[in-house]
Symmetry: C2
């Protein structure tokens, strides 16, 4: 009998021949593993975890690339590992090519199940002429709770739900409040949402067992009114109906997402008994229809920072009639509930010792926990790593260059879906800068070596430019990278690094004392950590101290959905965080200037 | 110096000459006192209370009409009483012609002030770069409450209200929930509404001192979708959008009323911090958007009977952003919260011994409190007393015959505004039947004496008919009253009386043991009690045992607005009432047949 490989978490089983490499089988099975070097054992991107089964022993390439500890723990390079029998393989998200990733990936979550809503199956005696109690009284008496509360929205559905189901129903309860009346046996669903400035990630969870049933990503439709937070605040301030426009489109997007997710599993949004939404403070305010004027003007004050439970129907979310939307607490005007969720979802609180957390996006929020104190700040890292403001930049999509390797002056590129190159996405840009710097093509100040030694460097309209791939090499489409593009990356990485350094300063901690760095966010999931270290975006630490936690904010939102304890933890986190306003720190300008340099300084 | 009379509660001062009657002065001053007999001392309708000043001594007419007790207590007939100096006169609503009455009149209310919402003036420190607390945190900390709650609707207004008022504000609080942020010094208003099937009555109350600041009446716009409760339930059942149509028009009417009332006193509906709405069970359900199908079909079950506090914005009521609408509890499908309010507002609970309460309308709800038990029922008395189903019937408006007196075969009529007669309103119809029966023109079975002895009786298309006023007597417009009209009145009074008798039977109480009868409702305010006794609509008791309490449901709503104790009392009333379903009582048909007879039987 032919051996086979079970690939997880994609859930695909593929037959194979003894002696084939894992990479070969994966490629045949349509699983797009990262392999910038084409399976030569050079790039080290095709890392997988062997869960069960027999494979060839690790070779020297693997021991160097992965380190002995990881190799002993069954981490392998797919291109170097030969199959000797049935296998079970786990592919971490960072080893998957972008096309097969979703922006919803995050840590596998496990928490004690203690959701805000529980289900109760009850049978009520139907009314008759000698028992004319109201439907609500009948339900209240059957529930036998101290002070059962039935919101108006639930009362409005009660007579029909009782009669359609012959008075045998599943009651969703939040404390002593009735959230919905559904057919007997219906389980309560939860909806977790990470409301990003650019992207939305949604998860449908079964509140009775904690399983994630479906997930989806979508663009934030508010982009039509402004690309970043400040543009949207301006929009809301400049037009009387501006705030309401922004609110309406995002609520519609979440309703559409909830509908789609439910449709995937043949359920109805009326079964969604609870929701958790996390976003930065501005997204939070715009979603709730809260004014943002005072958030956009000094001293940048939120209307609300506390955790909130808002009736879903008050916001316009079409969930179960009595469902709440829970919002985790905000920390400050520019460090929002999404950072609190990231802190919960990254697992960084479980780590003893000094830990750093970075949620990389248009704004990068940074947390440093050291010696019992928790500092946080926000840096305007900009959209360069999302491909914006870069001449040939693009979002991660088919044809985007996502990995770059320069070996002996040779440029190896990997594009998404192995399509002809169209442009550079964030992880490709980061690799490119790091590899060029390493190869001596860019100096520390970001200047291109235009001495004429490198035939790929030529003068351009925006300073010297580097030919990433020439028209001849790429079916006629040339892709270049200019001095001005490098400058954008310097600004981005400089902002992040300044934030990290200022927090270290505040805490009186040395860089080398950081025991673990948690990198979150869509870009953070797929970037090459070594490239980040190499250009000085990250502290100079062993690669092994870094953990890429994916969409940790989404994970945090799911945790808060599954456990009211996690909600309490979120409140206590938000409460104890010491917010650091970078721009008013007196050595901010000097530190920022220094952080613009490429490489570790 | 000329003496003068102060008329209360209309608040008018009129100069007069010594020796004039009070009626003469009132008429000159434009105050329309009832005077069916034209000031002859015959009708006994112009009863007033002399509060202060000197008048002629009572004559024999007054002693007979009013009784010695009342005369000694300074109750007088305005037409018989001569002025001897400055006077202060109180005119009870039943002595005022309809044009000057409002449907909002009720008992003067006095209750310990304990409203659900209180006001607090606070000064907050404005934010700055070293105090970036959110607006909500700032407010919460200043309030120093255990768990202050700020609803989303209030949060949405918070940043602007704080900044517009330089952080000096009046905070309206319901327990620890913030209801509104208003300019410093603003007092909280309350809005009480009696949601009648036909008419709406609204009151604006100052919650800080209990004063009623303004009141208004209006038609219920749902009339366009059906005249009575069952017609509206049908409308709601027969069309998918039917219920929503009914809900929308009534909410719009209440918003308009709140706006008008506030405009009268230069305030804004945003200052209305609390509202109490009472109506029958169907009106209650339609107002809240609750389904009514199960209310319209046996076994006639309400969706909800408990007291409710609903966020005003959830219903669509434009009050203070965090205001609730409180709904008193319903008793049963056809005995609603308006009856509970009537019980509170009539004062019948303060009366020891056996008391009867009747709230007369299209449905008449009846309560009997006897020996520690409280029985209630509802009777379908129909709209005859509102002028419907009567050939020349009309609502109380200019030209409506509102009082009738037959003396020695002579018919004396009083019309509203002393206009030429247009038709008969409820109190006129009642008088007419009573006076005709007394004069022997109708027998106990309701048959007109068509023996030819009475020149005013002639054959007509709907049986014999009586000429109330001929064309010659009335500028060409003839008004008649037929056998069929009499039949409508018999059905109406029969229904009411059957209800009273069945409750007496349930309680094991004799008619004569009833110590007080409280008559409420618009028609109930202005009817002639003696006429009601004469035709057998009311029990055969001395007239003095009857109390006409006006719109007691509206009064009850105001009490519930001013005192949370009254709300608790309402819950305990609704809880202890024993609802009697008349139609399933086995001697109902026999009793009803007997009750159709005119006169006391």
């Amino acid at each position: 009998m032919m051996p086979f490989i079970d690939f997880e978490p994609v859930g695909r089983r593929a037959p194979c021949t003894s002696g084939e490499t894992i990479l070969e089988v994966a490629q045949r099975a349509g699983i797009m593993l990262n392999a910038t070097c084409g399976g030569e054992g050079i790039c080290g991107h095709c890392v997988v975890h062997v869960m069960a089964g027999t494979v060839s022993p690790p070779n020297q390439t693997e021991e160097i690339d992965l380190g002995l500890n990881r190799v002993n723990d069954h981490w392998r390079l797919a291109c170097q590992t030969k199959i000797l029998g049935d296998l079970r393989i786990h592919i971490p998200p960072e080893s998957l090519a972008t096309a097969q990733r979703t922006q919803t990936e995050g840590r596998n979550i496990s928490t004690e199940l203690n959701p805000a809503v529980r289900c109760l199956n009850i049978n009520l005696p139907p009314p008759n002429i000698s028992d004319q109690r109201s439907d609500a009284s009948r339900l209240r008496e059957a529930l036998a709770l101290a002070r059962p509360h039935i919101p108006l929205s639930v009362l409005q559905t009660l007579p029909k739900e009782l009669r359609t189901n012959d008075f045998h129903v599943s009651v969703f309860l939040r404390d002593s409040t009735v959230v919905a009346i559904r057919p007997s046996g219906t389980s309560a669903l939860g909806f977790a949402v990470d409301l990003g400035t650019t992207k939305l990630a949604g998860y449908l969870v079964d509140l009775t067992n904690g399983e994630t049933l479906a997930s989806a990503g979508a663009m934030n439709p508010q982009i039509a009114f402004g690309e970043d937070v400040m543009a949207r605040i301006s929009h809301s301030m400049s037009k009387p109906e501006g705030g309401e426009q922004l609110r309406t489109v995002i609520v519609a997007a979440l309703n559409a997402m909830a509908g789609d997710l439910c449709a995937k599993i043949n359920r109805s949004p009326s079964d969604i008994a609870d929701a958790v939404v996390v976003g930065n403070t501005a997204m939070h305010h715009l979603f709730l229809g809260l004014p943002v004027r005072q958030l956009g003007l000094a001293p940048y004050v939120p209307a609300e920072s506390a955790a909130l439970d808002i009736p879903a129907d008050e916001i316009g979310c079409d969930l179960a009639p009595g469902a709440n939307v829970h919002l985790l607490p905000n920390i400050a005007g520019f460090v929002g509930a999404d950072h609190v969720a990231m802190i919960l979802g990254s697992g960084m609180l479980d780590h003893e010792g000094i830990v750093l957390g970075m949620d990389i996006g248009t704004n990068t929020e940074i947390s440093l926990i050291a010696n019992g104190k928790h500092y946080a700040c926000s840096t305007a890292s900009g959209p360069a790593f999302e491909g914006a403001h870069i001449r040939h930049g693009m979002r991660a999509g088919p044809g985007a260059i996502e990995k770059v390797l320069i070996r002996d002056g040779q440029i190896l590129l990997q594009t998404i879906d192995n399509q002809p190159a169209v442009g550079l996405c964030g992880s490709g840009i980061l690799d490119l800068v790091a590899q060029m710097h390493k190869a001596g093509m860019i100096n520390s100040r970001g200047a291109l070596d235009d001495s004429g030694n490198n035939p790929r460097v030529r003068p351009g309209s925006r300073g010297a430019e580097f030919i990433v791939i020439s028209a001849e090499e790429n079916h006629g489409a040339e892709i270049t990278f200019s001095r001005s593009d490098i400058n954008e990356i310097q600004l981005a990485k400089g902002a992040m690094r300044t934030g990290v350094n200022l927090l270290l300063q505040k805490a009186g901690v040395q860089e080398q004392e950081i025991e673990a760095v948690f990198i979150a966010g869509a870009f953070g999931t797929y970037l090459d950590v070594q490239s980040g270290i190499d250009i000085g975006m990250f502290p100079r630490l062993e690669k092994e101290r870094f953990v890429q936690v994916g969409n940790a904010a989404g994970t945090g939102a799911r945790l808060a959905l599954l456990s009211t304890e996690k909600r309490k933890q979120a409140v206590s986190v938000a409460h104890r965080v010491i917010y650091v306003e970078l721009t008013t720190e007196k050595n901010f300008p000097a530190l920022f200037a220094k952080s613009l340099m490429l490489g570790q300084v």
